[in-house]
């Protein structure tokens, strides 16, 4: 009985459709307004094939997860807070200077680093990590120049130089290790290559390292240190090492709550300055608006 009913239910709409098809068949055979269509090589409407995308990619492409934005903000605030403590520890600030610094930091941090934050949260390339540390360091350098006296600035600059020196030693050390793996160096050769690379150091090598790329040691820089057989091996470009990207590891960035004010030795930022964490949650999920105050430039370039 059910089978019959469903057959009938299908049948009546079909009659209607058949009538419509008959009418259209007649119309196509009758008079036409336009001249006869120019025959085309293939009169087939091309329908794009259905594409399957991984769910994660769809999410990444269309909307920014709140957690990614919040993480970026927390890490940047964490880094700024650590830097403020380091300044306080090294430069012997007056309470007035502390107040000025924390207020400036609280007011400006988000605008000054807007491009970095935006770049991070909208980045679809997980293989390109963002160097928040360097961006924050440059911003702090600007604030230090604005609010600290000359001797304090020189103390802070010495601290930055010490960091850069360590970074240089690290990147060159990794480059030497990489060369050792490729050419089979002795310890003495490693030291010599270390020295050769120190002379050719470029600050951009650190940025390259921070984005998971080790700068290349040019063969010409070190060829005079190598033996004949090592040189022969070094010129063999056919060998590739298996490189892969792995996910995971621990976070080496400090994280500070968005509701926690910047402080230095108990001096907090002014209560009149609105915190990011105080803003409504909907606003928090929007990308940062790049507002520049008068005479204020963004500290961060393109990511």
């Amino acid at each position: 009985m059910n089978v019959r009913c469903s057959s009938l239910l299908c049948f009546f709409p079909c009659i209607g459709l058949l009538f419509w098809a008959w009418v259209s068949a007649c119309a196509s055979g009758q008079e036409v307004d336009e001249p006869p269509p120019v025959p085309r090589p293939l009169d087939i409407k091309v329908v794009p094939a259905m594409r399957l995308l991984a769910p994660a990619m769809v999410v990444q492409g269309n909307e920014i997860p709140d957690s990614r934005r919040e993480n970026a903000l927390r890490w940047i605030r964490g880094l700024i807070q650590r830097e403020l403590h380091a300044i306080d520890q090294l430069c012997r600030l007056s309470s007035e200077q502390r107040q000025q610094l924390v207020n400036t930091a609280e007011t400006q941090w988000k605008n000054r680093l807007a491009t970095t934050i935006k770049g991070y949260i909208e980045s679809h390339n997980p293989r390109q990590p963002f160097d928040f540390e360097m961006r924050v360091e440059r911003l702090i350098g600007v604030w230090v120049g604005e609010h600290l006296n000359e001797s304090q600035v020189s103390i802070w600059n010495a601290e930055i130089d010490s960091r850069n020196d360590m970074r240089k030693r690290l990147v060159i050390g990794l480059m030497v290790q990489d060369t050792e793996r490729k050419l089979g160096l002795t310890a003495e050769q490693m030291e010599l290559i270390d020295g050769a690379l120190q002379e050719r150091w470029k600050a951009s090598w650190w940025s390259m390292y921070r984005t998971s790329t080790l700068p290349e040691t040019k063969f010409s820089w070190i060829s005079n240190i190598l033996s004949d057989s090592q040189r022969t091996m070094g010129m063999d470009r056919g060998v590739t090492f298996s490189e892969t990207y792995v996910q995971g590891g621990t976070i080496d960035l400090p994280s500070t709550s968005l509701k926690q004010r910047f402080e230095m030795s108990g001096v907090e930022s002014d209560r009149s300055i609105l915190l990011t964490g105080d803003q409504p949650s909907q606003e928090l999920s929007n990308p940062p608006i790049e507002i520049r105050m008068r005479g204020e430039d963004a500290i961060d370039g393109p990511p």
């Binding site: 089978v3 459709l17 068949a25 650590r82 990590p129 793996r181 089979g184 091996m233």
Partner: protein
């Protein structure tokens, strides 16, 4: 002005539409009848995955059925791909890296204490034999495995393979001259005691260089996380040299510093840094580069 289309340019859209509709309706009506639906017809066609194979003639499927749901089956050939993943990605790459590794060692030792060409050839030939032996060993393990395996069976066979591949994965982090392979034994047996001592010293210095670099990386990470000053970093660098094992990785260094006595922490760090140090490290989902060179 209306014009009639010439008969040869008329397209039989109407007729085709009618035929199509009739076909659709017929299929729909047939589909409503029990036993004649398209779905039931599809169900009768055996899936490619469910087709019986020669291995099904054995008692494996019966065992699987008794065990419960065993949908995922691994082919025997997948074992090789899986085994070589940790050794340069694939067999060809591994072989290339292995030969290169032998060459690199020979070059380095030749630089330290001159070697004859005869000895070099002997070492290279031994290494080649050793690699061929690995192929034979692997093939014999894989040959014993069933052609289609459950995850458990696959894991068991893979474990056997890994046990023979383990020595090929060593990274050369020890401070002594490695004698893991036969070609290494042949090589070092031909050196005099003075030459061997030179090689040993060189090996130690190379390791010290590597450790120093890794320590620097760890200290810079600690500095980033804790906001250390130049004096604190310098102090940690000196301290880390004495506890090299702990300072090779950021995670172990963090745990090491957490475990320091309270008085020592107060001497080394500020209150804010101690507070930060009391936190556990969070896991990241970021991506980082890993280079697999099949040992050193």
């Amino acid at each position: 002005m209306r014009s009639m289309a010439p008969p040869e340019t008329r397209k039989p859209y109407g007729i085709l539409s009618m035929i199509g509709l009739v076909a659709v309706c017929s299929i729909d009506m047939l589909g409503s009848r029990p036993g004649l639906s398209l779905c039931s017809a599809q169900e009768k066609i055996p899936s490619v995955l469910n087709r019986p194979t020669d291995s099904d003639t054995t008692d494996e499927p019966a065992v699987q059925a008794r065990a419960g749901v065993q949908d995922v089956l691994f082919a025997r050939d997948q074992l090789f791909d899986f085994a070589y993943q940790s050794l340069g990605g694939n067999k060809a790459n591994f072989e290339q890296l292995f030969r290169r590794r032998v060459r690199l060692t020979l070059n380095r030792i030749d630089q330290l204490c001159s070697m004859s060409d005869g000895l070099k050839d002997k070492v290279l030939a031994t290494a080649e034999l050793e690699r061929q032996r690995l192929d034979i060993d692997m093939a014999s393990i894989v040959a014993e495995a069933p052609s289609r395996m459950t995850p458990q069976q696959f894991s068991a066979v893979n474990l056997k393979l890994q046990s023979i591949l383990q020595r090929f994965q060593s990274k050369g982090s020890s401070v002594t001259v490695q004698m893991v392979f036969l070609w290494q034994k042949v090589l070092y047996s031909q050196l005099s005691s003075d030459q061997l001592k030179d090689v040993q010293t060189d090996e130690q210095n190379r390791n010290l260089f590597r450790q120093k670099t890794q320590r620097l990386e760890t200290i810079l990470k600690l500095s980033r996380r804790l906001g250390l000053t130049a004096v604190q970093r310098k102090r940690l660098e000196t301290y880390g040299a004495s506890y090299s094992g702990s300072f090779q990785e950021f995670e172990s260094a963090w745990l090491h510093l957490q475990a320091l006595p309270e008085s020592e922490k107060r001497e080394w760090f500020t209150n804010e840094q101690i507070e930060e140090l009391s936190n556990d490290l969070e896991q990241s989902n970021e991506v980082r580069l890993l280079i697999i060179d099949g040992g050193n």
